[in-house]
Symmetry: C2
């Protein structure tokens, strides 16, 4: 997606060789008009796949998933990371290890919001190690639902997540793939 490459070149901040900050439109501040362009792009790719539900993970996946869902007219479900008094007892649970935060955590989805007849599109902002998407895939399998594909805004191609998911048979659509980050410079695949 050319417009996204340009936006990342203009606004992305590279820290070291692996951290890309796109806080000013995707991860902290949200440019909702631009998120609509992203949502439309996911719609163009997956529109014929009879998606019934979009699944993401809190917190930074929520905005792009909600905006994208407007094109599909389907509900979003976001997996929760924290224990909450308010969550149902009957939940699907999976373990995710976050390298960014250097810890493992549980993700949870109430069972009643996924059914075996669902055809599910995963949406997330970043793909690096692929652990969050693998956790969501695990939950979809627990529900007996169909994982139709995964739409990712930024894939870090130099980390193993993309290869892992493609090997697992996931229809992975990344809007941009970063091949390398070095000395503040971004090289797209």
């Amino acid at each position: 997606m050319q417009r996204l490459k340009e936006r990342i070149m203009a606004d992305g901040i590279v820290k070291g060789n692996d951290i890309l900050k796109v806080d000013n439109f995707l991860n902290h501040q949200l440019d909702v008009d631009f998120l609509n362009e992203i949502g439309k792009e996911f719609w163009e790719h997956f529109k014929d796949k009879e998606i019934t539900r979009i699944l993401t993970i809190e917190a930074s996946g929520i905005a792009v998933a909600a905006i994208t869902a407007q094109y599909f007219h389907v509900p979003v479900v976001f997996a929760k990371k924290l224990d909450s008094k308010n969550l149902d007892d009957e939940v699907y649970v999976s373990q995710v290890h976050s390298f960014t935060r250097d810890r493992s955590y549980e993700i949870k989805v109430a069972q009643k919001y996924l059914s075996s007849s669902d055809r599910i599109l995963i949406i997330d902002d970043f793909l690096a190690q692929g652990n969050a998407v693998m956790g969501l895939k695990d939950i979809i399998e627990q529900a007996g639902a169909t994982l139709v594909g995964a739409g990712i805004v930024v894939e870090k191609g130099f980390q193993p997540g993309g290869a892992k998911l493609r090997q697992a048979g996931v229809d992975l659509y990344s809007l941009v793939i970063i091949k390398e980050m070095k000395d503040g410079r971004i090289v797209f695949a």
Copy 2:
């Protein structure tokens, strides 16, 4: 907002005398078409206020803030709750106590995403004790920006947050106010 009352009556689940779960359209599963009706309602109320930015708090405020921002064509900034390697060093910080989770936590906003010329609308899903909104108000004051008002989807009128904010001079617009919850029954104000 009559449609919201009906939706809460149809889909809300009351636990005890103080917990209302609206997980099937607002807090876990997101009905984005209905969130658009909510966003339009906030737009109708605040459209003449020259809003330049919407401020919310992760995670469950993000979806309603992002959908609402489409009507105002302004960016959303969401305050972060967790420490992250990726957040800027220069942040505004405030303390919030959550009764739901029974603990205090810090909320943070990168300084560069709020300026003293900003006219800010706070958007959040629930108002109970009012501590999250007071924390956001504190951050807006640290930035020297103007708090124009707060749009809340569900105010628990039997808890002190609404009175606290109105006394503090906040233009508070709650789409519904719940007067009482008892034995699974909801009474609107």
